[in-house]
Symmetry: C2
Subunit: 503 residues, 2 copies
């Protein structure tokens, strides 16, 4: 093997070790750490992050990348070797553009803004969050200035989460979705009004037991996975065979079950990466959008489907006889698929969720361009929620202050959630062509062929290909909103008696 | 503040962060990690260890130490500043003597030897462990050669665990103990033979609940501590306010309770370090011996005392009515203080434990000097156990292969366990002078004054003083075996009717 390549690989493995150590520290922080450990933990994580960043942006990595130009072009494009060099080069060039003082300042301000946001949200007081938000926005402008000017400055922040995707491309998808889902929401307003979301007595220990019985069929293995409770569910881990998913338990609802299936989707992506890529920067999902396509797929396309519940409902009923004794599957299924415009993104149903994203995507561009001044953001938010969802925002806590992202300085992150929805259905249509008996398998509690398909076509490649290349390889074409719109119309049409074909 | 000092402190804080990250990764590995995560975790821990070592042994640290000579001597000896420079200089000079290749080889061989030892122990086959042990011993010789020749080569390995303590000094203490405890064991052989250790039905969940009720009175606070089950109990953590203790649950015994009290003793030492020392190399216990003095104190001098049980026994009985319904305190107390020569060190009682250590201390010196060839070690072990404990070793699994230390290349570690016993009683005598009503407090379930005394005299100083300086400060004189021997004679005399004063 080329000695420069071996050197680069070793150096990257070391950096990856630091990153995974950070993951475990972060997981521990949110699941295990005694609360008073937080101050010193923040220092430890900052130190590890700084060392990893210094090691990665070193001149030595640049020199090795230069030495490897010939090697890279001598190897097939999709080989692990060429991919490692190619992806590392892109990462390195991007990372080198940002001076370490700015990077440190971004991290520091995000830490400072977090408690301010928590307090502002609690008191539903946007004004008190404004100075912190302003600083974050200013720093984000300075960050954008580190790069070559783009068609749209938003392209640069979007690239951090969905590499190579442009604002214009996302807008095309979102404009189509906005029109169609807006119409769908209007069509369903009356029809879905009397189907209430499921509520009842679901004791926590039995929830966990039932959840495990579900996700073990998805691919959760006790030898390589953990499931723990936390406040805001997430998926994380220490490696391909050390997957940590988290969930939360709400005693009067099954929300935690859907959160667990969601996080299992993320976990399966990370767990499905080819073992040869372990300890390299390729050993994870290629973008947030593709990651979300997996979590939303297992949560919604699998976990809220009728064939899934045909298999699992009897055991759910047996597990929770108090809550479900008198409820038949025909009543239960619509009640885990209610459609109701609501205030909080993370609680939104499949038909309204994307609208929450689109309004954030638009507002982010508007505050970045100055079209909306930060002072007007709360008002702009209310107007947009009224326009897209037809509901009033009673306070900032349930409005502009509901999400943590802007406190962390993360602008450009939100669109990946809706891209994930879109991609989940687009991939699903391909799967249904390859596995026509998919739903029959679900009715037997069998998800192995689905998992195998995803691993073969998507998971095993990790980060070898860009999001666009990956979508092209998996779906045979670029991102396309139509499958998701068809999926929604078909599914909700079946439940609420709409015409299956969109107007 | 002196700018070189600030620089040194920052650099050490970073190294300390890496060390604490390593602690958390190690804790996770032994309590939480899915088993298949182990391979990549080993890489992560090796990487963090290597980076911390490189950063610490850098020329820059040496240069800063040189620059700080004047600063150090201008500050009081016991100031945090002078202590930081002084302790760092000793650490640095020691660390620099060992070439990184040898250090890497020591770590690598220890990893390789571990599974060999596990397998050999399982099959009770010392011969199959012999090659790995030989390599470890050879490497340890090479390690010793890195240092200035000492009076006894064993001094050098002992120094890694009990800095500044010499083999000759330990021998004086151990010779006295060996004679006295040997006699005590002989005296008790008949008297204690019919008092059986406590056995019964102690369901795990109730054990945990009872343990917490005990250690919360010792100082375990849920805001800063955790208690989790593991295979081999240990104490660890991420910082002064992030203390992790572990225990194991054996359903037919209360061993786990004593393990929990033991680990709480370690935790209280780490938790009691002055917050000003956090993120510095001074923010931990000063030696393994002094650490063990704390764990053994809470486990034995507190947790196996009659006043302690006068307070706790009613609630223990209430918690385990099946096992203890008919057992009165007068019967219970001797049964958690049985004396019976046994094969396994970690299960040994207070009267026989030190003999297990002394035989290892002697054998370690003998294999290091070549007086005992490794091929003869199993036989030498059997002979020594027969001589000191009067029992036959039926197999190597319960003999020479029982402990992990030699597989890890750790020679010089064992004596610290017995030094801990000795020191626990020596400190205890001081405490009884300062707090004459100590046992009355225990009978009220009050351990706050004990904890406060330990924090004031020992814990808060962390690693500022050497073990010898610490003992001098806490006990007013050098290490002395007499208090422990008095303690044993008095306590066991009370239970088994021996004369309280040694012959």
């Amino acid at each position: 093997m080329n000695p420069s390549f071996t050197k680069l690989k070793d150096r990257l493995a070391e950096i990856n070790d630091l990153g995974k150590a950070l993951s475990i520290l972060g997981w521990d922080q949110q699941t295990m750490m005694p609360p008073r450990g937080s101050a010193v933990r923040a220092e430890q994580m900052a130190t590890l992050g700084r060392i990893a960043h210094e090691k990665f942006t070193s001149d030595e990595v640049g020199r090795l990348l230069d030495e490897l130009e010939g090697f890279e072009s001598s190897m097939p494009y999709d080989s692990d070797e060429a991919s490692l060099v190619r992806v590392t080069r892109t990462d390195w060039e991007k990372a080198r553009r940002v001076p370490s003082e700015l990077r440190a300042e971004l991290t520091r301000q995000a830490s400072l803004a977090l408690p301010v946001w928590i307090d502002a949200r609690e008191r539903s007081d946007f004004k008190s969050f404004l100075p912190a938000l302003r600083t974050n926005l200013e720093l984000r402008h300075r960050y954008i200035e580190c790069f070559e000017p783009a068609e749209n400055p938003y392209d640069i922040v979007l690239d951090d989460f969905e590499r190579g995707m442009t604002t214009a491309e996302v807008s095309v998808v979102f404009d189509r979705i906005k029109a169609e889902q807006g119409q769908l929401i209007a069509d369903l307003r009356e029809r879905a009004a009397d189907v209430d979301p499921l509520r009842g007595d679901f004791p926590q220990d039995r929830q966990k037991q039932f959840e495990l019985s579900v996700v073990e069929r998805f691919g959760f293995e006790r030898e390589s996975w953990r499931l723990d409770p936390t406040v805001h569910p997430f998926a994380s881990g220490g490696g391909i065979d050390d997957i940590r998913i988290t969930t939360r338990y709400i005693e009067d609802s099954l929300e935690g079950l859907f959160a667990t299936m969601h996080e299992t989707g993320h976990g399966l992506y990370e767990h499905g990466v080819a073992p040869e890529l372990e300890r390299s920067p390729l050993a994870r999902g290629t973008s947030l959008g593709l990651h979300e396509s997996q979590s939303r797929m297992w949560e919604n396309l699998v976990g809220r489907s009728l064939p899934f519940w045909r298999f699992f409902y009897p055991s759910l009923k047996e597990t929770f006889p108090e809550a479900l004794g008198g409820v038949e599957l025909e009543e239960f299924y619509p009640r885990v698929n209610t459609v109701r415009p609501s205030l909080i993104r993370v609680e939104a149903d499949e038909a309204t969720y994307n609208m929450h994203i689109i309004l954030r995507f638009e507002l982010e561009q508007e505050i970045l361009s100055g079209a909306v001044a930060l002072e007007e953001l709360s008002e702009a938010w209310r107007a947009r929620v009224d326009e897209y969802l037809g509901i009033d925002v009673p306070d900032d806590r349930r409005g502009v202050l509901q999400d943590v992202h802007w406190a962390g300085g993360h602008i450009g992150y939100f669109p990946t959630y809706a891209l994930g929805n879109v991609l989940s259905a687009q991939i699903w249509e391909r799967i249904l062509v390859d596995i026509p008996e998919l739903y029959d398998q679900f009715e037997q509690g069998d998800f192995g062929e689905l998992r195998g398909w995803l691993r073969e076509h998507l998971h095993r490649h990790g980060r070898k290909f860009t999001p666009k290349e990956t979508i092209e390889r998996v779906c045979g074409g670029p991102i396309d909103p139509e499958p998701y719109l068809r999926y929604l119309r078909d599914k909700l049409g079946g439940i609420y008696g709409l015409a299956a074909t969109p107007a």
